[in-house]
C-alpha cells in the first residue's frame, strides 16, 4: 500500500518533537518531508543562551543530526522556506519552487522576534536573538565592538545581555516597564535580580522607551540609541528582544483561521482537518505559549492523532519560569503577583539575597515567586499544577519540601549546591555530572528521558526531586513535560484514575476487556501496567474478577521473595510478632533440613529464612506449617506490637491482642502497595506506630489512630485520624481507611502518597464524619477478604501456579549424550 504523505513546515523544536513522538507510535505510517528555513538540522534553541555565554558550542546543541533524518527515511529540505500552501491541490511550495504533495500537513513555524518600528531599525548592527545565525552575529560583534544595548529586559533580553557581557562588551539594557521581568517577577524580586546583575557589570535603564537608532557618521552601522527623554547611549550592537510574534502569515494566506496564532482545537487540528499545527505559532484556547514544555505536550497529543490513535487531548499548560544566567536563581509560576481574593506569604532576607513569595487562594497554591533560593521551585510547581489542597501544609509551606528523613543522598537536597562528582542517585550510583552531561549532550527535557538515559531516579525514586532540580537548572524555565495527568504507563495515555473508573463503571472483569475498552497500544501490556490492572480488577470486583498470576511480580507469583542469586526467602507469619516454642522448633528443623544459609530476625518482628531454592519452597512451607507472612507482596505485611498491659508496668491497653486481631482481620489483603501496622500499649510507643500506614496507640480512655506514616525511603510521620474507645471501633476505622486506600489508591502508591494526594481532610470526612460511609467501606473490606486463602497451605484455592516449582530436567539419556 502506498504510504500517506506528511509534510512538516518548520524544522524547529515543536515540529521535530512531534515527529519523534509520531515515529514512536507509527514508524511506517507516513512518507515524511520536512522544510526548514534555517540551514541547520533540528537543534535545541533554548541552549543558544549558553552558547552565547560561551558555555556550550553549536555542535553540542544539535538534537537530531542529519543521520537521524536519513535513518528514519525523512526527506529534509534545509534552507528552504515554504512560501505557499495550496489547500485545494494539497501542496506546499517553497520560495525556490519546490513542490510537495501532502495528505497531512503539520505547521510548526514558530515565531519571529518583534522589531520595534523605529527609525534606524534596519541599520547594520541591529539584530534580534532567535537562532544560530543571530547568536553567531553577536559572538562576532563582541570581538570587534565595545558597546551593546539590549532592548527589552525580559528573559531573552537578560540572557542576551549576560552573554554579551561575558564576551567582554559593555552592556546596557533598556526596559520599558518599571522593573525587570515584569511578567515573571514582582518588584521586590526584580530589585534583587537587578542588584545581582549590576554586580556582574550590566547597566539598566528602566521605564525607558527607545525612540530612534542613530547611525555612525559614515552611515554604515548603528552607533547609538536615543531614548524618548532625549538621552543617548553609545551602541555598536543593538539587540531587539522586545517580544515575539507567532509566524502565521503562511497559514493566514492559505485561509486558515488565525488570531494571535493559528487557531487549533484540543487535538491540535486547524480549521482544515488535514492540517495540524504545533508550537509557538499556534493559539490554543486563547493562549500562545513561548516556552518548550507546552510545545512538548502539544507534540505528544498531535502525534497521537496523526497516528490515528485518536486518544489524548491537549487542554493547556501551566508554565513556570527560570532565568538561565549562571549564578542567578529565580523561579516564578502562576499568579505570582497575587490579587483579589488571594493571600500572600512572604519571606524576605535582602542581605542574604533571598526572597520568597507564595500566593494562595482557597486552600490552593496558585502562584510562587522565588529569588535567591529556588530549590523548592519544583515542589511548589508540582503543588500548583496538581492543584493539591494545602491546608495541612500551610504552616510549613514556606520552608519548602520537608527534607528531613530523606535518606541516601548524604542529606543533599539542593541540586545547585552539589558538586559534579556528588552522587544523586544512590541506587544506581549516578553523579550530578553524569546527569548534566546527558541532559546537554543528548538533548533531554523530561524526567522520563533522564530516567531512560541515565537510570537516575529509576529505582527507588527518592532522588526524583533532585533530578527535577537539575533538569530545571540546566534547561531553565519549564523543563518538564510531565503532564498533570500521568499516564499509567507507555501502553496507554489513560491515567490510573481513569482506568479505575472505567473498570468500576463498565464492570470490566478482565485485563483483555480493559485493554480493548481503553484502546491499549500493546496486545498484552507491559511489566508496569499488567500488575496494576490485575490489582485494580481484583480489588474492584472481589470474588468476581479472576486473579492472573502471570501479571504478578515474581514474588507474588512464587509467594516468596526473590534474592539476587535467584533463590528465595521465606518469612512465616507470626501474628503480632508473637511466637512459641513449637514454631521456633519447626523453624529450626526446616533451617537444618534445607541447609538454609541465613536465618535472620527481620525489622518486622519475625524470622526470615534466606537462600531457599525455588523447588524447595513447597516442602519448606509444608514443614513450617505456619501461615504465609506475605513479606513478598503488595499486601498486608506485619502488625508490630509492643508488650502492652498484659506485662508492661506502663501499659494502658492490650496491644498484643489488638495487634493479633488486626492482623488476622487483614490476612490475605492485597493493596496498591504494602501495608504495615503497629499497635503500642501506651504513648511511649515502643512499636513505632508513628511511622506506619496505620498506627494504633493505647491511651487510658481508649485508642488513638494515626494513618499514612512511612518508614522507608522518605520517613513520614503518621497523621492523627481520631480517637476511639473500643477494640471494635479500632478495627472498623482502620479497616475502613485501608479499604478506601484499596479502592482509590494508585498501584504502587503507599498510603502516605495517597493521603497527600487527596488531602487528610477528605480522609477525615469519609472515615470519621461519615459513619454510614465508614461502615460500608468496612463491610466491603470484610467481603473482599472473606475466605482469603493462605497461598502456602491452600495452593489451589489461592490459584498458585504449581508447576513453577517442578524443575524440568533434561532426560538422563540426553544428559549423558550431552556431557
Amino acid at each position: 500500500m502506498k504510504k500517506m504523505k506528511l509534510a512538516v513546515i518548520g524544522n524547529g523544536m515543536a515540529g521535530i518533537r512531534t515527529l519523534e513522538e509520531l515515529l514512536k507510535l507509527a514508524p511506517e505510517l507516513y512518507d515524511i518531508t520536512v522544510f526548514g528555513a534555517e540551514p541547520y538540522p533540528n537543534y535545541n534553541r533554548i541552549l543558544l543562551s549558553p552558547v552565547l555565554a560561551g558555555e556550550q558550542t553549536v555542535d553540542e546543541i544539535i538534537l537530531n543530526g542529519l543521520d537521524w533524518y536519513a535513518e528514519n527515511g525523512i526527506r529534509l529540505h534545509l534552507g528552504k522556506t515554504v512560501s505557499r500552501i495550496d489547500r485545494v491541490k494539497r501542496q506546499v511550495i517553497t520560495t525556490d519552487g519546490i513542490v510537495e504533495d501532502y495528505d497531512r500537513l503539520l505547521i510548526a513555524t514558530g515565531s519571529s522576534p518583534f522589531i520595534l518600528p523605529i527609525p534606524g531599525k534596519d541599520l547594520p548592527g541591529v539584530i534580534t536573538y532567535r537562532d544560530i545565525h543571530d547568536t553567531e552575529c553577536m559572538i562576532e560583534a563582541a570581538k570587534h565592538y565595545r558597546h551593546a544595548v539590549v532592548i527589552g529586559g525580559g528573559l531573552l533580553g537578560l540572557e542576551a545581555a549576560n552573554g554579551l557581557k561575558l564576551r567582554g562588551m559593555d552592556v546596557t539594557v533598556i526596559h520599558l516597564a518599571e522593573w525587570l521581568l515584569e511578567r515573571q517577577l514582582d518588584p521586590v524580586a526584580a530589585g534583587l535580580l537587578q542588584q545581582s546583575l549590576e554586580a556582574k557589570g550590566l547597566q539598566f535603564r528602566l521605564s525607558t522607551q527607545t525612540s530612534e537608532l542613530l547611525a555612525n557618521d559614515a552611515g554604515t552601522r548603528v552607533a547609538a540609541v536615543r531614548c524618548q527623554d532625549g538621552s543617548e547611549i553609545p551602541a555598536d550592537l543593538v539587540v531587539m528582544a522586545a517580544g515575539i510574534r507567532p509566524n502565521t502569515s503562511l497559514a493566514e494566506a492559505a485561509g486558515l483561521a488565525c488570531q494571535r496564532g493559528i487557531l487549533v482545537n484540543d487535538t491540535l487540528q486547524t480549521y482544515d482537518p488535514r492540517i495540524y499545527a504545533v508550537g509557538e505559532c499556534v493559539s490554543h484556547r486563547g493562549m500562545a505559549y513561548g516556552l518548550v514544555a507546552p510545545l512538548f505536550e502539544q507534540a505528544k497529543v498531535c502525534a497521537n492523532h496523526l497516528a490515528f490513535m485518536g486518544i489524548g487531548r491537549y487542554t493547556g499548560s501551566v508554565t513556570s519560569t527560570k532565568l538561565k544566567v549562571t549564578g542567578v536563581d529565580l523561579f516564578s509560576a502562576g499568579a505570582f503577583m497575587g490579587g483579589d481574593g488571594m493571600e500572600e506569604i512572604t519571606l524576605s532576607d535582602p542581605v542574604g539575597g533571598v526572597y520568597k513569595k507564595l500566593v494562595l487562594k482557597d486552600d490552593h497554591l496558585v502562584g510562587a515567586c522565588l529569588y535567591g533560593d529556588t530549590a523548592d521551585g519544583t515542589w511548589y510547581f508540582k503543588l500548583l499544577r496538581e492543584g493539591r489542597k494545602i491546608a495541612e501544609l500551610r504552616d510549613t509551606l514556606m520552608f519548602g519540601e520537608n527534607n528531613i528523613g530523606d535518606v541516601g543522598h548524604e542529606g543533599h537536597n539542593k541540586a545547585m549546591a552539589m558538586a559534579d562528582t556528588d552522587e544523586v542517585c544512590g541506587c544506581n550510583g549516578i553523579s550530578k555530572g553524569t546527569i548534566v552531561k546527558a541532559i546537554q549532550e543528548q538533548g533531554l527535557f523530561t524526567l522520563e528521558d533522564v530516567r531512560k538515559c541515565t537510570k537516575a531516579s529509576g529505582s527507588c525514586g527518592s532522588c526524583t526531586g533532585l533530578v527535577e532540580q537539575i533538569l530545571m537548572n540546566v534547561l531553565g524555565t519549564d523543563y518538564s513535560d510531565t503532564p498533570t495527568k500521568k499516564a499509567l504507563c507507555g501502553c496507554t495515555d489513560h491515567s490510573h484514575d481513569e482506568v479505575r473508573k472505567s473498570i468500576r463503571e463498565h464492570h470490566l472483569l478482565s485485563q483483555q476487556e480493559v485493554r480493548q475498552f481503553m484502546e491499549w497500544r500493546t496486545p498484552n501490556g507491559c511489566a508496569s501496567c499488567r500488575p496494576a490492572l490485575n490489582y485494580y480488577l481484583i480489588s474492584t470486583w472481589p470474588h468476581e474478577a479472576a486473579d492472573d498470576p502471570q501479571s504478578r511480580f515474581i514474588n507474588e507469583r512464587a509467594h516468596a521473595n526473590i534474592q539476587k542469586d535467584g533463590t528465595y526467602s521465606v518469612v512465616p507469619r507470626m501474628w503480632g510478632g508473637l511466637t512459641n516454642p513449637a514454631e521456633l522448633r519447626r523453624i529450626a528443623d526446616v533451617a537444618e533440613k534445607f541447609n538454609v544459609p541465613t536465618v535472620k530476625i527481620t525489622g518486622g518482628q519475625r524470622i526470615d529464612l534466606l537462600g531457599i531454592r525455588k523447588e524447595d519452597l513447597p516442602a519448606v512451607w509444608k514443614d513450617l506449617d505456619m501461615p504465609s507472612g506475605h513479606a513478598y507482596g503488595k499486601s498486608i505485611r506485619t502488625v508490630k506490637t509492643c508488650v502492652g498491659d498484659e506485662h508492661c508496668r506502663f501499659g494502658t491497653q492490650s496491644s498484643m491482642k489488638m495487634g493479633v486481631d488486626l492482623e488476622k482481620m487483614l490476612f490475605g489483603m492485597y493493596s496498591p502497595h504494602k501495608v504495615k501496622l503497629a499497635v503500642s500499649g501506651c504513648p511511649r510507643n515502643c512499636a513505632e506506630a508513628g511511622i506506619k500506614d496505620v498506627g494504633v496507640i493505647g491511651v487510658d480512655s481508649g485508642w488513638e489512630i494515626y494513618v499514612a506514616g512511612n518508614g522507608g525511603i522518605k520517613t513520614e510521620v503518621a497523621q492523627y485520624l481520631c480517637k476511639v474507645r473500643t477494640d471494635d471501633e479500632v478495627k472498623e476505622y482502620s479497616g475502613a481507611f485501608l479499604q478506601l486506600y484499596r479502592e482509590e489508591g494508585w498501584y504502587l502508591e503507599r498510603t502516605v502518597h495517597y493521603v497527600s494526594r487527596v488531602g487528610m481532610e477528605v480522609i477525615r470526612q469519609r472515615i470519621v464524619n461519615d459513619a454510614e460511609g465508614r461502615r460500608a467501606l468496612f463491610e466491603r473490606l470484610l467481603f473482599a477478604l472473606r475466605g482469603a486463602p493462605d497461598p502456602w497451605k491452600a495452593q489451589e484455592a489461592a490459584g498458585v501456579d504449581w508447576k513453577q516449582f517442578q524443575s524440568v530436567r533434561l532426560a538422563t539419556s540426553a544428559e549423558g549424550a550431552l556431557s
Binding site: 502471570q550 515474581i554 532426560a811 544428559e815
Partner: protein, 116 residues
C-alpha cells in the same frame, strides 16, 4: 541456521501446555546452564539462557509481555527473539533455537552442550 529435524539434533524437553501462557519454565541440566522457555500470547515459544545480561537475574521469573520479558531483579527488558536488551540498556542473553511439534517443545542438542 538450518537444523535438520532428527532425533539426533533435537531433544524433547516438555509439553507446550506445561508453559503457562505469558509465562516461562526453566530447563535444568544443560552444559550451558539453566535455559528459560517462554510462551507468548501469539503462540510463540522462545528460549534464552536463563541469565540476564545485567547481573545474571533469572529471566524465567520475569513478566512476559508482547515478545519481551522484564527481568525480575532490576527491570531490564529483553527481546525474546534476539536476546538483546531493549535500549537504553545494552547486553544480550544467549538465544537458543526452539522447535514445537505436536504440542511438544524441543531444544537443540548442539546448543545445549554449547558446541559451536
Amino acid at each position: 541456521m538450518s537444523l535438520v529435524e532428527t532425533r539426533e539434533t533435537w531433544i524433547a524437553v516438555l509439553a507446550l501446555e506445561d508453559i503457562p501462557m505469558l509465562g516461562a519454565r526453566v530447563v535444568e541440566g544443560a552444559a550451558i546452564g539453566p535455559v528459560a522457555l517462554f510462551r507468548t500470547e501469539d503462540q510463540g515459544v522462545f528460549a534464552l539462557r536463563d541469565r540476564c545480561p545485567h547481573k545474571g537475574g533469572p529471566l524465567s521469573q520475569g513478566i512476559v509481555h508482547g515478545h519481551r520479558v522484564t527481568c525480575p531483579l532490576h527491570g531490564w527488558n529483553i527481546e525474546l527473539d534476539s536476546g538483546e536488551a531493549v535500549a537504553p540498556d545494552v547486553g544480550c542473553a544467549k538465544r537458543l533455537s526452539v522447535m514445537v511439534k505436536n504440542g511438544q517443545v524441543y531444544l537443540s542438542k548442539a546448543e545445549l552442550t554449547g558446541a559451536p
